[in-house]
């Protein structure tokens, strides 16, 4: 299973944000990092087929994702974005069950045994079984984030795209979420997550893509993609990168002039 971006350019409001993005992604955990506004969310949505690229194409196993029918695309690509549901009285279980929609045909209204198994499996893996009857509006931000990930698990898509899954989460919730995401990748999915914390990217991802300067600044394993040079180009902040037994650590340089 390969997700390919071929010379993709994305624009918003008439302005080109990123151009000539060419990536070939296979199973594993890929982290997307870059400044706010660089186009990470737009790129993620373009990869999901929700938006058309300004130029170039996104292909999943050779097929343009924009050419896939909505349900077919949803069976193969899951897009997880944070935020509130429209209807807060929906129960966790009903919300997760909605993820089985792409697997139904238009006349299939009743859930099948496979649907039930997928939902139970998703609730178990996100530790939501005890909360299955709770209404979405009564959950904490961390619990709600787990619901969105449970949706992606129940969807049984081979590609899972997550937009800032750990923003607004405390340390424990962040770590739990990333472990869950890591587990998805270990099960064979291609997981692409937009992350703000560089330490998180370094600790959990197999590959990091650094976006900035209108394109891809770096692409590779964490130690080679996240260097002082690439971070400075992407974030305009001087850091030193330290390799320790627990992984990479990033220390902002407070002494000496930046240039």
């Amino acid at each position: 299973m390969t997700l390919e971006l071929e010379r993709v350019a994305i624009a918003r409001g008439g302005r080109t944000l990123l151009g000539d993005v060419t990536l070939a992604l296979e199973s594993g955990f890929v982290a997307l990092v870059g400044r706010n506004g660089v186009g990470k969310t737009t790129l993620l949505r373009t990869m999901a087929g929700a938006l058309a690229p300004a130029e170039g194409a996104v292909r999943l196993d050779g097929v343009d994702v924009r050419a896939l029918a909505p349900r077919e695309r949803a069976r193969r690509i899951a897009l997880v974005e944070g935020g509130e549901p429209a209807f807060t009285a929906l129960s966790v279980e009903d919300a997760v069950a909605s993820a089985r929609f792409p697997h139904h045909r238009w006349f299939e209204w009743e859930p099948t045994g496979e649907d039930g198994a997928a939902v139970d499996d998703a609730l178990t893996r996100t530790d939501l079984t005890a909360l299955r009857a709770r209404e979405l509006g009564t959950l904490s931000a961390g619990e709600r984030q787990r619901v969105w990930i449970a949706l992606a698990i129940a969807q049984r898509a081979g590609v899972v795209l997550l937009d800032e899954p750990t923003s607004h989460l405390d340390l424990k919730a962040s770590v739990e979420t990333l472990r869950l995401v890591r587990e998805l990748a270990d099960h064979g999915a291609l997981v692409v997550a937009v992350l703000h914390q560089l330490e998180e990217a370094a600790a959990f991802a197999d590959r990091v893509v650094v976006l900035g300067e209108g394109g891809v600044i770096a692409d590779g394993v964490p130690p080679s993609a996240l260097t002082s040079a690439t971070i400075f180009r992407a974030f305009d902040v001087a850091v030193t990168v330290e390799r320790g037994p627990d992984g990479l650590a990033f220390h902002r340089r407070t002494s000496a002039a930046r240039r």
């Binding site: 429209a86 209807f87 792409p102």
Partner: protein, 326 residues
């Protein structure tokens, strides 16, 4: 199951509707007339030529309005939406008012109203477009403002008309009434109502997913743009059929979905049939009351429902029915 209980409500309501009315009918005579339709005589005539068709029309109006309301509230994720939002009723009302003022033949007025109701709904939809999508907020604003404008036209027409048959017919239409409705009216409105219902039925699984929000629903494979158009057309057809049959009968489309939700919950696979059943039963019973309370005169159906509907709606709203939506 609760849905079955509600299903039993409709025949019961219809029986009550046939049993009560301007002329009192003894139970024995009623039973005989129902079981022997061809028996002839005054009772059978009243039952089969007047009451049964009228009760069927009432059930259709109630079912259509409740269904349109349930579908639009689900589509727009707004529990305060009424099917008249589409502009159908105000469009129909304005053309009926103008036609009456101009003295156009009465037989032409219902189809004219139907056509202009649909045309207004199309205008509202066009105003609500943002790219390929219909923007819920714009739809609501466009519907409300066009309705206000067209209502003003109706008021103007009423003022211009001297007292007489024309203004009376406009007033009767505004108040909502099933007086004189029979099989021919039902047959004329049935195709629109059934087409609207079919479109609505298609949309139920997608509407359930839409509760997660438009973006998430789209990511799960819901074709949001197609869903919006299918439902808008369906709700418009249903409302147009109801308005052609009964004029302005308010509150059914707004409150029945809430009542149905209280009984069967928010899953649209249960909510939509429940709304249809409760709507049908409600209008049948209300029409029976309208015919009986001040017999031999009839209280306009719309008036009766307003007196019952407004307090019910306020109670529901104050008790937080609207709080389920973020």
């Amino acid at each position: 199951m609760r849905l079955l209980a509600l299903a039993a409500l409709v025949p019961l309501a219809m029986l009550i509707g046939v049993a009560f009315g301007g002329a009192a009918i003894a139970p024995a005579a009623l039973a005989h007339a129902l079981l022997h339709p061809a028996s002839g005589g005054d009772v059978a005539t009243i039952v089969w030529q007047l009451r049964v068709p009228r009760v069927c029309v009432a059930a259709t109006v109630g079912a259509a309005l409740a269904l349109a309301g349930a579908l639009l509230q689900a589509l727009l994720r707004n529990p305060l939406v009424d099917p008249y939002l589409t502009g159908v009723s105000s469009g129909a009302g304005a053309s009926i008012a103008i036609a009456a003022t101009l003295g156009i033949a009465p037989a032409l007025i219902p189809p004219l109203g139907f056509a202009s109701g649909l045309a207004t709904a199309v205008l509202v939809a066009v105003l609500a477009r943002r790219g390929p999508r219909l923007d819920p907020e714009r739809l609501i604003l466009a519907g409300i403002s066009l309705s206000a404008l067209l209502s003003a036209i109706v008021t103007l027409a009423l003022e211009r008309l001297a007292r007489g048959a024309a203004s009376e017919s406009i007033l009767a239409w505004l108040a909502g009434s099933l007086a004189g409705r029979g099989w021919p009216d039902l047959v004329a409105a049935a195709p629109e109502a059934l087409a609207g219902a079919a479109l609505g039925a298609f949309a139920i699984p997608s509407l359930n997913v839409l509760r997660l929000g438009e973006g998430r629903a789209a990511a799960l494979g819901v074709d949001v743009v197609r869903l919006q158009w299918v439902l808008l057309i369906g709700a418009t057809l249903l409302t147009a059929a109801a308005v052609a049959l009964a004029g302005l009968v308010g509150f059914v489309g707004l409150i029945v979905p809430h009542l149905a939700r209280r009984v069967v919950g928010a899953d649209l696979r249960a909510l939509v049939p429940a709304a249809v059943l409760v709507g049908a039963a409600l209008v049948v019973l209300a029409d029976a009351l309208a015919r009986t309370l001040a017999a031999p005169a009839e209280i306009p159906l719309g008036v009766l429902l307003a007196f019952v509907g407004v307090p019910t709606f306020l109670v529901l709203y104050l008790r937080g029915a609207a709080r389920s939506y973020a």
